[in-house]
């Protein structure tokens, strides 16, 4: 399902080069790298620092500051559960517990078999049809235990 390319320095350099002329290009580059590889490999840090003429610490700081960027590959499937108040009011905490127990992972972790990554998200803007989730990019509203169970089962089996 993930369909990410394996890390490749030459390809990364191309991606960085394509954006490097833009004003404030660091975030667009990090997004582009993550879209292709699923994460931002440590080798990208010196490449970006060189291209943007900043220190490696600055690039590392971006990756660790922004919740979206990953320094390690994600599982084949990513399930994001909203933890915002609107979703809490409709039972999101119980669903979060269900997901963590069923997968045996905590927030931000990937199952041992590398199949599923569980991530928190603070609001998908689906607050009028809470609780909500995003499973491999697909938005889900009015999530309940049964639907979550089938999403998790499907992710664990493929």
């Amino acid at each position: 399902m993930s369909g990410f390319e394996t890390w490749n320095k030459v390809r990364a350099d191309e991606i960085i080069g394509a954006h490097a002329g833009r004003e404030g290009s660091a975030l667009p580059i990090l997004h582009a790298l993550q879209e292709v590889f699923g994460y931002v490999d440590g080798e990208a840090v010196p490449l970006m620092a060189e291209a943007l003429n900043v220190s490696r610490a600055e690039i590392h700081g971006l990756i660790s500051f922004y919740h979206d960027f990953r320094a390690t590959p994600p599982g084949r499937h990513t399930v994001k559960l909203c933890r915002g108040e609107a979703c809490q009011s409709m039972g999101a905490d119980a669903l979060a517990l269900q997901a963590r127990e069923r997968l045996g992972v905590d927030w931000g972790e990937t199952t041992a078999d590398g199949r599923v990554t569980l991530e928190p998200v603070f609001c998908l803007g689906l607050c009028a049809c809470a609780p909500s989730a995003m499973a491999d990019g697909k938005l889900v509203g009015r999530l309940d235990a049964e639907r979550l169970g089938s999403i998790l089962d499907k992710a664990r089996q493929s």
């Binding site: 004003e23 404030g24 290009s25 660091a26 975030l27 667009p28 990090l30 997004h31 943007l52 600055e58 700081g61 971006l62 500051f65 922004y66 919740h67 979206d68 960027f69 909203c82 915002g84 108040e85 609107a86 979703c87 809490q88 009011s89 409709m90 998200v121 603070f122 609001c123 998908l124 803007g125 689906l126 607050c127 009028a128 049809c129 809470a130 909500s132 990019g137 938005l139 889900v140 509203g141 009015r142």
Partner: protein, 523 residues
Amino acid sequence: MSRAKIFVPRDAGSIALGAEEVVAAIEAAARSRGIEVEIIRNGSRGLYWLEPMVEVAIPAGRIAYGPVQAGEIESLFEGGFLGGGAHPKRLGVPEELPYLKRQTRLTFARCGITDPLSLADYRDHGGLKGLERALSLGPDKTVEEVTLSGLRGRGGAGFPTGIKWRTVQQTPAQQKYIVCNADEGDSGTFSDRMIMEGDPFVLIEGMAIAGVSVGATKGYIYLRSEYPVCRFVLDAAIAAARAGGVLGDKVLGSAHAFDIELRIGAGAYVCGEETALMESIEGKRGMVRAKPPLPAHKGLFGRPTVVNNVISLASVPVIMAEGGKHYQEYGMGRSRGTLPIQLTGNIKYGGLFEAAFGLTLGELVEEIGGGTATGRPVRAVQVGGPLGAYFPRSLFDTPFDYEAFAARDGLIGHGGIVVFDDSVDMVRQARFGMEFCAIESCGKCTPCRIGSTRGVEVIDRIIAGENVAANLALVEDLSNTMKVGSLCALGGFAPYPVLSAIHNFPEDFAKHSGSGVKLAAAE
């Protein structure tokens, strides 16, 4: 028979409830019958308990059906829904639905009605009139109109938009910027998302008016990454606006140049704060800047910059088209015009309700929202996002007005209301207020960075029943330090949900004291 026109929203909420499956089912059903249909992906009308809401165009207007699931499409075709035929899911004329009829849709006038990506449709429904008028009036008079309208920043701070524009206009510089803050991170809000998905040209038009007025040739929309549907729609709308001459070297054929670039955030809530947002566009960590200098003097890349929320900018076209005075006539006190209020969480009729300022919290939650979705009594509502206060029913007479909420230690923020039923544990909610701040703090100032983490720890001690009265006093003290000592609204307002939970729901905290110790906060 001519091609039947069917509307199925391409709104993230509708999609999350099955709109894509509905579209596929309509296409399959039409194909099997040899009928040609044109499916228009409109925005949502904002009645989420009825989504996906499918509408068909008949000679007399439009007929709505909802909530429609893919499995019901066959029976809809059997019932002749293309001609507005009977069906258990038939809702009738959408504009006649009481929820819509009671609203005053100025900013959201076209949302759900037009094809969001058709510039021709936008024009046919009154679009671009505001920009045309701004171009003919000239920059000075345009800023005067915006000032006259009484429009205040809809992102939450409520700063008068006209004054902000005037400051940038009067600051000389080679390059100025318009930055649209589309980092709508507050739980319980989605009005930015809805307008960007349902009527993106109104935002583009508003930004162009701002650019032309203050002398900025470049605009950025900073969109949060959690809104993929918005990204798709905005990309297409910006391209269409360029092709249609709304953006580019000659805005609507005038001497003014203006273009827009879309930038995607990366999951940091604090980037909704204007200075952190600009740092992020510049390619840095979203660390808050100290003010002054104001962004209007030294903003993005050190240049004079207008930073406005999506709804503020999207309200400008109607102000310019109808005049500032017309807009100013709605509302109460110093809160003029309309506010798209978002009714969310545990609520029966969740959705977007645009109305003039002045409705009370009780009217919105009980009457319009219909109480809770679970059917249990409403116990608490959080207004204004994760940094907003929790109000009990006893404060339901508070009118929606910036000053009225402030007077009761709350804020209207971006206009989101999250409803909780009587199963809510307010100690948990108070803890979450601190936890959220700890997760999202940018780390620049100490009260926010350290205060929030200590806040979680102290509330954990209260939950464990340790020295409850003393620890509550400590939370109060810590909260006050964060309020007055933080650099931005994240640390400065994070105490609002915490203190309001303690003050308005003391019984939940008293439960943890065990020995029945009288709590200072409960007095």
